[in-house]
C-alpha cells in the first residue's frame, strides 16, 4: 500500500489547514465571541484588541466572528457549487465524448449555446425569476460554468476512447455504461480531481467578483468574498478588514489545490503499482 509518511510535508500542512477551517466552520456558534451580525455603532473600525481579536468592521461587527461564520457560508456554497457543476459537466462531457455522433452534436450544441451567453445576463434572469437568494446563485453559478467543464472532459474522453484496451474490453462484451464507469471515468479521474479543487477555489473567488457587480450573497451574510469586497474602500487605513478574509480565502484555495495535487500523486503512484500487474 502507499506509505503516507512518504508524503511531502506541504500536503500535511494543507490538510491540517483545511481541517482547521472546517472545524472553525462547524463549531462557529460555539467559538465565536459575538453574533456576526451584531451592529455596534460605537466600536467601528477598530484594530486588533483584547475584546476583538481581529478588530471590527465599519458597522462595529466583530471580524473574528464573521470569519468563523463566513467559513460556513463560503465553504459549503463553494463545495455545493463545484459538485453541481462537476456532476452536470462530467456526465454530459463523458456521454458526448464517448458516444459521438448525433448525441455529441446535440450536447455540443448546448455547450456552445451556454458558453456563448453572457453569464451576467443569465445571473440576473435567474435571480429575477427565483428572487435573489443562495439557491438562485447556486443555479446561476452552475449554469454558467458547466459547459467549460464538459468540454475539458470531452477532450480527455476523446483521447482515451481510442486506446487499445478499450477495444479489448468491448470485444469481451462489456456494455457502454460499464466501460464508462469502470474504464473511462477512472482514467480521467486525475484531471477531474484537479479541476474540482480548482473549481472550489474559483467559486469562492467568483462570489467576490459577483459582489462587486451586485450579484453575490445578500447582506448581512458574512461571506468571505463579500467581506473582501466591502474592504476595498477601507483597506488603506484599516488593512485588517482585507487581510483577515483575504488570507482565509488564500489559505482555503491553496490548501484545497494542494490536497488535489496530493490525491493526484497518490493515484499516479497507485497506477504505477497497477501497471506492474498488467
Amino acid at each position: 500500500m502507499v506509505n503516507i509518511k512518504q508524503f511531502p510535508v506541504i500536503y500535511k500542512i494543507a490538510a491540517f489547514i483545511l481541517v482547521l477551517m472546517l472545524s472553525g466552520a462547524i463549531f462557529a456558534p460555539v467559538i465565536a465571541p459575538y453574533d456576526p451580525n451584531q451592529v455596534l455603532p460605537d466600536e467601528t473600525l477598530q484594530s486588533y484588541s483584547g475584546t476583538h481579536l481581529l478588530g471590527t468592521d465599519a458597522l462595529g461587527r466583530d471580524i473574528f466572528s464573521r470569519i468563523l461564520y463566513g467559513a460556513r457560508v463560503s465553504i459549503s456554497f463553494a463545495v455545493a457549487a463545484a459538485l453541481c457543476t462537476m456532476i452536470f459537466g462530467v456526465s454530459l462531457g463523458m456521454i458526448s465524448g464517448y458516444f459521438g455522433g448525433t448525441i455529441d452534436t446535440i450536447i455540443q450544441l448546448l455547450v456552445n449555446i451556454f458558453q456563448g451567453l453572457p453569464g451576467m445576463s443569465m445571473m440576473i434572469a435567474i435571480a429575477g425569476v427565483m428572487g435573489p437568494s443562495t439557491v438562485s446563485l447556486l443555479l446561476a453559478v452552475t449554469l454558467t460554468s458547466w459547459s467549460g467543464f464538459s468540454r475539458i472532459v470531452r477532450g480527455e474522453v476523446l483521447k482515451i476512447r481510442e486506446e487499445n484496451y478499450i477495444e479489448g474490453v468491448r470485444s469481451l462484451g462489456a456494455s457502454d455504461f460499464y466501460i464508462l464507469v469502470h474504464y473511462i471515468l477512472p482514467n480521467i479521474f486525475n484531471s477531474l480531481i484537479i479541476l474540482f479543487t480548482v473549481r472550489i477555489g474559483t467559486v469562492v473567488l467568483s462570489i467576490a467578483s459577483l459582489s462587486f457587480l451586485g450579484l453575490g450573497m445578500q447582506p448581512p451574510e458574512a461571506d468571505w468574498g463579500v467581506m473582501i469586497n466591502d474592504a476595498k474602500i477601507y483597506f488603506r487605513s484599516y488593512p485588517n478588514l482585507l487581510l483577515a478574509p483575504g488570507l482565509c480565502i488564500l489559505a482555503l484555495c491553496a490548501s484545497i489545490n494542494l490536497i488535489g495535487d496530493a490525491l493526484r500523486d497518490l493515484f499516479s503512484i497507485q497506477q504505477d503499482i497497477n501497471k506492474q500487474y498488467l
Binding site: T105, G116, P118, V198, L205, G225, G246, I249
Partner: protein, 315 residues
C-alpha cells in the same frame, strides 16, 4: 482528407443552430428577467416619474407590446438583412457601438492571452522538468497564491502600488500600451496560475506513458522527448482551457473593464443588461456568439492536428 473536409463542413454548418440557440436563449432571458425597458428609460435621469400612460406609450414605441414571437421574429428578420438594430438607451446603431468597443476588448484579450501563453506554458514545462526541486516548489507556491486572489482585488492592489504609490503606470483609460499592462496582468494572473499547474500535471502524466519510455530507450535526448512527444500531447487540455478562457475574457472582463475604465464589450453588455437594452443585449450576443463559435472551430481543428489518434466523428 475527405474525412477532414467532411468534419470541417459539419462543424461550420453547426454554427447556425448554435447562433440561433444563443439568440433564443438570450431573448428568453430578457423576457423572464424582471424589467420594463420603457420604465427604465423614462426614469433614466433619476428624477422623472413617468405616468402609467407614458410608460405604455413608450412600450408601444419600442414595440414591446407585441407578442413575444413577433418581437423575436421581426428582430431575426432584421438581422438577416444585416441590421443589428438601434440601442434603446443611446438610440445609436448597435453595430456602431460594438465596433467602437471591439478594438478595446481585442487588445485586452490579446495582451492577456499572449501573457498567459508565454508565461504559463514555458513555466509549466520547466516545472515538470524540475519536478520536486526547490524552484518547482517556489513556482508552485507562487502559482497557488496567484489563483487564490480575486481578479478585481489584484486590479485594486496593482493600482494602489503602481499608480498611487510608485506613479509608474496610469490608472485607467484606453489608448496607450502602458494603460493595458495592469488590466492584462490582473486578468491573466489567475489563469496563469491554473494553466501552469495543469501544464505541469499533464506533461508529467504524458511523460509516464510507455511511448516515452520507448523513445528514451531509443536514445533520444530528453529535452527532445519533451518537445516532440510530451509537449504536443499535453497541450490538448491546455488548449481546451484556453478556448474556454477566451470566451470568458470576451464576456467576463466586465469587472476589469469597469475598474480600469476600458470601454470594451464586457462593460457594454453590463450597461445594456442594467438598462434592459434588449436590442443591445441581443446584438452583443449574436456578435460575440459568432466570434466565440469561430474561435472554437479553430480549437477543434487544432485538436485534430495535435493528435490524429482522435478519429473523426465515430468509432
Amino acid at each position: 482528407m475527405n474525412d477532414f473536409l467532411f468534419y470541417l463542413v459539419k462543424k461550420i454548418l453547426m454554427i447556425i443552430p448554435v447562433l440561433l440557440g444563443i439568440t433564443i436563449a438570450a431573448f428568453i432571458l430578457g423576457i423572464i428577467s424582471p424589467s420594463d425597458p420603457a420604465a427604465v428609460l423614462l426614469n433614466m435621469d433619476g428624477v422623472s416619474i413617468p405616468s402609467i400612460q407614458e410608460i405604455a406609450n413608450k412600450r408601444h414605441e419600442l414595440g414591446l407590446d407585441r407578442p413575444y414571437i413577433i418581437q423575436y421574429l421581426s428582430w431575426l428578420l432584421q438581422i438577416l438583412h444585416g441590421d443589428l438594430g438601434v440601442s434603446y438607451i443611446t438610440q445609436r446603431p448597435i453595430w456602431d457601438e460594438l465596433m467602437l468597443r471591439l478594438p478595446v476588448t481585442i487588445s485586452l484579450a490579446s495582451f492577456t492571452l499572449l501573457l498567459v501563453m508565454f508565461t504559463a506554458i514555458p513555466l509549466g514545462v520547466f516545472m515538470a522538468y524540475k519536478n520536486n526541486s526547490k524552484s518547482d516548489f517556489v513556482l508552485r507556491t507562487a502559482a497557488l497564491i496567484v489563483t487564490s486572489i480575486p481578479a478585481f482585488w489584484l486590479a485594486i492592489l496593482f493600482m494602489w502600488i503602481f499608480s498611487e504609490e510608485l506613479h509608474l503606470l496610469p490608472t485607467s483609460g484606453y489608448g496607450t500600451f502602458a494603460q493595458m499592462i495592469m488590466p492584462s496582468f490582473a486578468l491573466a494572473a489567475g489563469t496563469i496560475g491554473t494553466l501552469v499547474r495543469l501544464q505541469r500535471a499533464t506533461l508529467l502524466e504524458v511523460l509516464e506513458q510507455h511511448f516515452i519510455l520507448t523513445a528514451k530507450a531509443k536514445g533520444l535526448p530528453f529535452p527532445m522527448i519533451i518537445w516532440k512527444h510530451g509537449l504536443l500531447n499535453s497541450l490538448i487540455p491546455v488548449i481546451t482551457l484556453l478556448g474556454n478562457y477566451f470566451g470568458a475574457i470576451i464576456s467576463g472582463s466586465a469587472v476589469i473593464e469597469s475598474i480600469f475604465s476600458l470601454p470594451g464589450l464586457g462593460s457594454y453588455v453590463l450597461e445594456a443588461i442594467r438598462g434592459r437594452d434588449y436590442p443591445a443585449i441581443q446584438g452583443y450576443v449574436i456578435f460575440t456568439g459568432l466570434v466565440f463559435v469561430l474561435f472554437n472551430l479553430l480549437v477543434d481543428i487544432s485538436y485534430l492536428l495535435l493528435n490524429p489518434k482522435i478519429r473523426l466523428g465515430g468509432k
